[in-house]
């Protein structure tokens, strides 16, 4: 039975309180001070679910809020020096910093604290922010146009039935819905499928990023230093690398990104990250330090050729929900803000989403993505050919007459029977966290365990038989929070889903080889509580 729902009417409904959603809200209110804007955020606070490296190009923020430098967000360190290295198991080789990765004039920051700060700016402009209220589904009219979103219900019991405190989610009706959910947004995913928005584009591809904040003994951190590495602990067929960003007050961000198009079914991104921290050149930096916070999130890597159509009647997609991240730059915040500002300016003038898709592709955002389009897919042929291709593409500024294609990540795993195990030579670890549950502790994630499972596995019999033989249940390894476990007891073998540990990274929704896992929004306010990641 469908409960009675209240309806709230707004001029614009925005799904997601990240840089793109907030930038859209701010820009649109600047242009249309009378417009009513509602911004929904599934995290308990603005910023509590967002995590990124992060180094930001400040240009778009300068345009959005010209005075932002006078009142900086909590964590914001000017970039001072770049290092780019290639790691072998025992060695470290300095490479020239690729032109895309030079960070002069950029800032190291916490995307979580930047968003909290942007939230304050949006609120001051009169935007109604609703942290703790996830949008669960889009609403359509009879012609298929989007007319708003339905918020998630609160207070359902484990079996899905309304509990004593049940509160039905409100329906938000608005002439324009802006999807700003970030990478692999659950509503965006549904709408892309429903409206075939990826008909003319390649499938989206992703990476999984893991990150920790460390407090080090004095004298080790060099504020403003930005270090990236490629190579070990990854094999040459697996795309990815590390980052180390040095903050003030003896703190550093250490993180690792692995392309989710990896082939080895036994590979674990979490373990790769932890191994990286034990490299002889990294371990002395961290040893004796203390871990303060940790988290994980997938990111889009498909770029230009994977951009879906970004509009349908009543709806626009902005930022990484569409996939505007610039992979060779390892940056997406400036693109997210830029794409959202462009969308807000377009809608303020035209009063219709129509035309935004073409506008974005022809804009500097589209050109920036197009220029680097062949770099990421070039790594499909291995690390060295990838680097050679990247150098060639950079030299030609993307003027090659071809476009390399992207492939789905769920289909990239090789079956165990055909896979020769890679000897990774990974070391015994001593640095914290000991394991994934210990890492989850530092994300401060929480889900009320009386609610229905928000991770839906369509057919768990596949897990028990087919997946076990074909891939040895890779979900138990790719999930950075250890949400998925295969348990054997008297009743046999079954899949246990520790949904309370979920970090909302969406890796399972992307990488599961049978496409049977669907990530849906849990009750509002559930999930990680990042403040400085």
């Amino acid at each position: 039975m469908d409960p009675a729902r209240e309806i709230m009417k707004y001029d614009v409904a925005i799904v997601g309180g990240g840089p793109s959603g907030l930038a859209f809200a701010i820009r649109y209110r600047q242009l249309q001070p009378q417009a009513s804007i509602c911004l929904l955020e599934k995290g308990a606070e603005i910023g509590s679910h967002i995590i990124s490296g992060a180094v930001m190009e400040p240009g778009p923020l300068d345009r959005l809020l010209p005075n932002w430098r006078e009142n900086l967000p909590a964590i914001c360190v000017p970039a001072r020096r770049d290092e780019f290295t290639y790691l072998t198991r025992g060695g470290r080789w300095r490479l020239p910093v690729p032109p895309h990765m030079k960070n002069n004039g950029n800032f190291i920051l916490s995307l979580s604290s930047l968003c909290r700060w942007l939230g304050e700016q949006a609120e001051a402009l009169g935007v109604d922010l609703f942290p703790g209220f996830p949008a669960a589904a889009a609403l359509h009219d009879e012609n298929g146009a989007v007319i708003g979103v339905r918020c998630a219900d609160m207070g359902r019991e484990k079996n899905g039935r309304p509990g004593p405190n049940f509160t039905a989610g409100v329906d938000i009706h608005a002439p324009l819905t802006v999807l700003a959910e970030g990478c692999r947004g659950s509503i965006t995913k549904t709408l892309i499928a429903r409206h075939n928005l990826d008909q003319a584009s390649d499938p989206q591809t992703y990476g999984l990023g893991l990150k920790e904040l460390w407090h080090l003994p004095p004298g080790r951190a060099e504020p403003g230093l930005i270090q990236h590495s490629i190579g070990w602990p990854l094999d040459r067929k697996t795309y990815g690398g590390s980052f180390l960003y040095h903050l003030n007050d003896n703190q550093v961000y250490v993180g690792f990104v692995a392309g989710l198009d990896y082939e080895d079914p036994m590979f674990s991104p979490f373990e790769a990250f932890q191994q990286f921290k034990h490299h002889p050149s990294i371990r002395p930096l961290l040893e004796g330090g203390e871990i303060l916070a940790a988290g994980a999130r997938t990111l889009v890597e498909g770029g230009w050729q994977s951009l879906p159509r970004l509009e349908i009647p009543g709806m626009l997609i902005v930022g990484d929900a569409g996939g505007t991240l610039n992979v060779p730059k390892v940056k997406g915040i400036h693109m997210a803000i830029n794409s959202a500002m462009l969308a807000a300016e377009h809608y303020a003038e035209k009063k219709t989403p129509e035309g935004y898709n073409a506008l974005l592709r022809a804009s500097p955002i589209g050109r920036e993505l197009r220029r680097v389009r062949n770099i990421r897919p070039g790594f499909k042929k291995g690390l060295w050919r990838g680097i050679a291709n990247a150098a060639f593409e950079t030299l030609l500024a993307g003027h090659t007459p071809w476009t390399l294609h992207n492939h789905t990540d769920y289909s990239s795993l090789t079956k165990l029977s055909r896979f020769t195990q890679i000897k990774r030579g990974w070391a015994k670890r001593v640095l914290p966290p000991r394991d994934r549950p210990a890492s989850v502790f530092f994300s401060q994630t929480a889900h009320d365990e009386t609610q229905p499972l928000h991770l839906k596995v369509a057919d768990t019999s596949i897990c028990i038989d087919r997946c076990r033989t074909e891939y040895a249940n890779p979900c138990t390894r790719f999930c950075p929070a250890g949400v998925y476990e295969m348990i054997e007891d008297d009743t046999g073998r079954h899949l246990q889903i520790n949904a309370a540990n979920c970090l909302h990274c969406k890796a399972c929704d992307i990488k599961d080889p049978y496409e049977i896992i669907t990530w849906t929004v849990p009750e509002g306010g559930s999930g990680p509580n990042y403040t400085n990641l």
């Binding site: 209240e6 709230m8 606070e45 979580s112 609703f130 609160m154 409100v170 502790f441 401060q444």
Partner: protein
């Protein structure tokens, strides 16, 4: 009838706090702040009493920094009728005796029949303000309530005590402090958040109450609890006993 509910702004219970590097306090910058969960239960109870049909006004009060307006707005969105903030930026003043004296002044002005608050705040775990206030006020108190029934000027309260449950009856006006099992607070609804923006929220500087700010507690330093040393496995019961003896845990 008028119910006064006192709430405190605290770091959310899901958030893991850290001590500031210089040991001067708990780092709260950027952390999620919420209504103290026990106070939220007190507010929920007040709302349920009102919804049970009596003509009731619910006044919610907080003492603290300007940011506590956020928690008062949440309380208004849950259903409180009015809110009042006694504002002070000096956190060291927020100690049970001073809070009790401040609330007493408000009671004298507002004359509530019932004062509800959590049994303790989850930040300092003092568990004192309610008891002190009842004593100053000279009215009955019922602490650690897990059930409240009101009838004919009396409150019948089930208290959670160490030995089990205790049933007491107090004459109104009275003060009741609430325990975890009393109720489960409601979820805030989005339309109510919008309505709450138009409800009255008055801010008065705490100094206007003319209280003698005599800090009874002085904090010297904060320290995190000692780090747990890693354990190790022993092979047999005999080895376990030997290890425990060696550590002086058993004789």
């Amino acid at each position: 009838m008028k119910i006064l509910v006192a709430i405190k702004r605290v770091v959310d219970y899901n958030v893991r706090v850290q001590i500031k590097r210089d040991g001067s306090g708990v780092a709260t910058d950027g952390l999620k702040m919420s209504i103290n969960p026990f106070d939220e239960i007190a507010l929920e109870e007040a709302l349920r009493i009102r919804e049970a049909g009596t003509d009731t006004q619910v006044l919610v009060v907080s003492i603290g920094s300007q940011s506590a307006q956020q928690q008062l707005r949440t309380a208004l969105a849950m259903g409180a009728d009015r809110a009042l903030l006694l504002s002070t930026e000096d956190e060291s003043q927020i100690q049970p005796p001073l809070l009790a004296h401040a609330l007493l002044k408000l009671i004298e002005q507002e004359s509530p029949e019932l004062v509800l608050m959590g049994k303790q705040a989850i930040d300092d775990d003092a568990n004192q303000t309610g008891q002190m206030l009842a004593a100053l006020w000279g009215r009955p108190q019922a602490t650690f309530a897990s059930k409240i029934e009101l009838a004919a000027g009396l409150a019948t309260v089930t208290r959670e005590v160490d030995e089990g449950l205790e049933l007491i009856r107090v004459e109104l006006p009275a003060l009741i402090t609430t325990d975890l099992r009393l109720n489960t607070p409601r979820f805030v609804k989005m339309p109510d958040i919008m309505k709450a923006k138009r409800k009255p929220l008055e801010i008065r500087p705490l100094v206007e109450l003319d209280l003698e700010p005599t800090p009874h507690l002085e904090t010297f330093a904060y320290e995190p609890p000692p780090k747990r040393q890693g354990g190790h496995k022993v092979d047999s019961v005999a080895a376990l006993v030997a290890t425990l003896k060696a550590k002086g845990v058993i004789e």
